[in-house]
């Protein structure tokens, strides 16, 4: 998910050896391993790796294919889980290509790291995360679009014997003043032998007609309004069976024995098989599989299972937070001296629960083997890794694994898993059935909710020192919690000097100018599997930092906005976002009767977001978020309306977690199983949201995640204004009444 992992060369090497089918491809050169320049395919396989080995391959085929009928198929390196990556990439391509949007479709690519490696991660692996999709695609896909247009124009120039400079390429047509006209599709078959220039010029910003256009609509909304867009759950293959999983009730437990005799007696049951992660109940359809599941009895070996409940785990965290940190992530000035000279010292401890991603489409994947090739349908967010893992399970070489990248019904981080998770399960189950038929593993909501991979629980111990004039002279933040990276394939790269950067991001890079500043980390070990969850470390660090800073500002007798601005002299992006948000919210004016305001600013994934919330208190112990003013600096906003959508969605997603979401465990067993006990935000809780995008000519930075971090602390700070209560235990359902 993160640049630092993948930029490490030691990661690139092992992964490079995993996938043997990679084509060598460098943008701007024409020669390829497989042959040369034909910019189209007649029919059939849409992706480069699907093409017959003997077929000519155009250097831009990994990204764009134009069919004779003019259909433009863009292959996206970035996974689409709702955040609009396909639209963003299509916008970049079409800015340069000049096709008719009605001709454009986008599908997910895989199996070609040279073409699809995430450039924000050094190109070493394909994957989507850390809000990097537009950063990675910014040059790559504009150049791909420009190169394709150049080829088409050159082909027309040759065909018509006119100078290329006199040919116009727009709306999918090539035209010349002489009256000559050809569609892109017609000319795509006439590019044979053309050579691209070494340099591919891109349109200057002032010529853009697509990028930054506020009223450009998503090309893919309509099939989402009539039920026709297929997700993994909708994959239907001839003879396909459906498998429902029985996972261990406690993390780390394994199957000792199981009895499936009653289940196997059901009509429509296919088989009940044991795989590495539990028992798979395979049937002709989901309903029968679910019924049969309830008839299977399993005896678990819990000798290595996590037996603790979340109260015990958090108590251990709180105890650790009282001690000195195991490692320091940042240590500026002299912390001890700073506190010794402080006129006033404040302390507070914040507690954050485990959180589930709880995407609406419960996890799933489908697998089959045909002619020696394993095909896997799923939300392949880290395809190189999944291709390798699938090959290992199936006992084939990676080039014999073909991934079908499906759009997923949400994700929020949950589809990017080091062990391939449900993708691995589907291959294991299909193999356990001797590849006799395609099988789809479909998790129930309970499988999904109790499947672990949570946002880790954390405790932050905060301490601040003010001098006699109210200047913030010392800041200590001790973070205690579980590492996402430790124990994974990426530990060696992601954890340095005892610091998993995902544990401290948003805290260790604190933008505020404080002379004596320490951020420490104590990493705890539990058996509860954890994972990145939309905005990752900043989901807790931003809350602890921005809520505590509000306390400090109050103790200093200063306005929260002014107090921050004074500390942000070296961070103009933060300051600009904060200023505009406070201006738009009427900060400094008296809110309407019964309304209260709070503010927060946070940087995540190189994007800065400031939010001012306005709340009311409809009844004691209840909070209604009425309005959120949100200002974002994400560099160039490629699709401004989608940046707005991601801010709206990020605020709603974050707000739900702050108000009421919590995964708890009792004796090692997860208490929540469905949306009745795990409560994301609903429409009646959604505030009015006003988003302002700061104008910028910088390259694009993240948009999918950065809307999440500020909403919690902004809300906490507003709640304090209303109730004089500092909420330090999340969610509010627990912390507001504590």
């Amino acid at each position: 998910m993160y640049p630092k992992i993948f930029q490490d060369q030691s990661f690139a090497k092992p992964l490079a050896s995993l996938v043997s089918t990679r084509r060598s491809f460098i943008l701007g050169t024409v020669a390829t391993a497989a042959g040369l320049a034909i910019g189209y395919r007649m029919t059939g396989p849409a992706r480069a790796e699907d093409a017959p080995a003997a077929a000519p391959v155009h250097p831009f085929q990994p990204y764009i294919a134009i069919a004779p009928d003019g259909a433009v198929t863009i292959t996206s390196s970035q996974f689409e889980m709702g955040q609009g990556s396909y639209f963003g990439i299509a916008t970049l391509v079409n800015e340069e290509l000049g096709a008719d949007w009605a001709q454009i479709s986008v599908e997910g690519g895989a199996g070609n790291v040279a073409a699809y490696g995430n450039l924000a991660w050094g190109g070493a692996a394909q994957g989507t995360g850390g809000s990097t999709s537009m950063t990675s695609s910014w040059e790559r896909y504009r150049k791909a679009g420009a190169a394709m247009r150049i080829m088409l124009v050159e082909a027309a120039a040759r065909e018509w014997a006119v100078p290329a400079s006199e040919i116009k390429a727009e709306m999918g047509n090539l035209t010349h003043a002489s009256g000559k006209l050809a569609s892109y599709g017609e000319m795509a078959i006439k590019t044979d032998g053309l050579v691209l220039p070494a340099e591919i010029p891109l349109k200057p910003r002032e010529m853009w007609t697509q990028i930054g256009k506020v009223d450009l609509k998503r090309f893919d909304s309509k099939p989402k309004t009539n039920g026709s867009l297929p997700y993994t759950i909708d994959v239907q293959l001839p003879g396909m069976a459906t498998a429902v999983m029985i996972h261990p009730p406690k993390f780390g437990a394994t199957v000792k024995t199981f009895d499936a005799a009653k289940a196997k007696a059901l009509k429509g049951i296919v088989d009940v098989v044991q795989i590495s992660r539990g028992i798979a109940v395979v049937a002709e359809n989901m309903w029968i599989a679910t019924k049969a599941r309830d008839l299977v009895t399993v005896e678990w070996d819990e000798s290595k299972a996590e037996q603790r409940g979340s109260p015990e785990i958090l108590a251990a965290y709180r105890e650790a937070a009282k001690q000195a940190p195991a490692n320091m992530a940042r240590n500026d000035g002299d912390l001890a001296a700073g506190f010794a000279s402080a006129a006033k010292v404040l302390e507070a401890t914040y507690t954050f629960p485990y959180l589930a991603h709880a995407a609406l489409e419960p996890l799933n994947a489908a697998a089959m083997m045909k002619d020696g090739v394993v095909e896997v349908w799923g939300g392949h967010q880290m395809p190189d890794l999944y291709q390798y893992i699938a090959s290992q399970i199936a006992g084939v070489t990676p080039d014999k694994v073909k991934l079908h990248v499906m759009r997923s019904g949400g994700g929020f981080g949950r589809r990017a898993v080091f062990d391939a998770d449900v993708v691995a399960e589907s291959v294991e189950v299909a193999k356990a059935l001797d590849w006799s038929r395609p099988v789809k593993v479909q998790w129930t909501r309970e499988n999904d909710m109790r499947g672990g991979r949570y946002r880790p629980a954390y405790v932050h111990a905060m301490k601040a020192g003010l001098d006699g004039k109210g200047n913030l002279i010392a800041w200590a933040n001790h973070i205690v919690g579980q590492s996402i990276m430790t124990g994974t394939l990426f530990e060696g790269m992601a954890v340095k000097n005892g610091i998993d950067f995902t544990s401290v991001e948003g805290a260790a890079n604190l933008p505020y100018a404080i002379p004596n500043l320490g951020v420490g980390l104590t990493t705890m070990t539990t058996g509860v599997p954890v994972l990145w969850w939309r905005a990752v470390g900043s989901t807790h660090t931003a809350y602890a930092v921005e809520a505590f800073l509000d306390e400090v500002a109050e103790a200093a007798g200063k306005d929260p906005v002014e107090f921050r601005l004074a500390l942000l002299k070296d961070h103009p992006r933060h300051a600009a976002a904060l200023r505009l948000a406070s201006e738009k919210a009427g900060w400094g004016t008296t809110p309407a009767t019964g309304r209260f305001r709070g503010v927060a600013v946070a940087e995540s994934f190189n994007t800065v977001v400031a939010q001012v919330v306005e709340i009311s208190i409809p009844s004691p112990g209840a909070v209604k978020v009425e309005k959120v003013i949100c200002v974002v600096d994400c560099g160039t906003a490629i699709n401004p309306d989608q940046v707005v959508a991601q801010m709206e969605g990020g605020i709603g997603f974050g707000l739900g977690s702050i108000l009421a979401e919590e995964i708890t465990l009792t004796g090692g067993v997860v208490d929540q199983g469905n949306y009745d006990t795990y409560a994301p935000l609903r429409i009646d809780q959604m505030p009015v949201i006003e988003v302002h995008i700061l104008p910028s000519e910088n390259p694009p930075t993240g948009a999918g995640e950065p809307g999440v971090p500020p909403i919690g602390p902004a809300l906490a700070n507003a709640v304090y204004q209303a109730t004089k209560k500092r909420v330090r235990t999340l969610p509010f359902a627990k912390g507001l009444t504590a």
């Binding site: 009539n226 867009l229 989901m286 489409e361 994700g411 909501r445 969605g649 709603g652």
Partner: protein
């Protein structure tokens, strides 16, 4: 064999009467626009119409439907439905889109009963439909906009 009228067509379903309509639609009839999200009427992703009323198909047994007429996202039609779907697209309401079949079925049912719903009516009619992408602000705008167009 259970007979149900789905999208105006009498269908024969070879399954037990307690099979939830959701799985009959998806796995037997291959009408996959209706989505599975929770299995216990908590998320609304599986919303269909039973005689025009929104119901959660995951908790509706096929044996209980009798002569009732089922409409799914594939079959929903008429002025209200077409207006809702058009506005949904124009406002770019969907993000991942997974819950939107259910959202649209609930919205069409609301606007069929109430030509000018206020915010409280929208909250009441739509709060059973979860959207984890939190597209709620646009859902609300789209319902208001559809109501305006239907009034015109």
């Amino acid at each position: 064999m259970i007979k149900i009228n789905i999208n105006g067509v009498q269908r024969d379903i070879d399954a037990e009467p307690e099979m939830p309509l959701l799985w009959a639609l998806r796995d037997v009839l291959h009408l996959s626009g209706t989505k599975f999200g929770c299995g216990m009427a908590q998320c609304g992703a599986c919303t269909v119409h039973l005689d025009g009323q929104p119901v959660r198909s995951c908790v509706t047994a096929i044996g209980d439907i009798g002569a009732g007429k089922i409409t799914t996202i594939e079959g929903v039609s008429g002025n209200v439905a077409e207006t809702v779907q058009a506005v949904w697209t124009e406002l770019d309401v969907p993000q991942c889109g997974y819950c939107q079949s259910g959202q649209i079925m609930s919205a069409v049912a609301l606007l069929s009963e109430n030509q000018k719903p206020g915010d409280a009516d929208i909250d009441a009619a739509m709060s059973g439909n979860l959207c984890r992408c939190a597209t709620y602000a646009r859902i609300r705008s789209a319902i208001h906009e559809a109501a305006r167009r239907l009034e015109a």
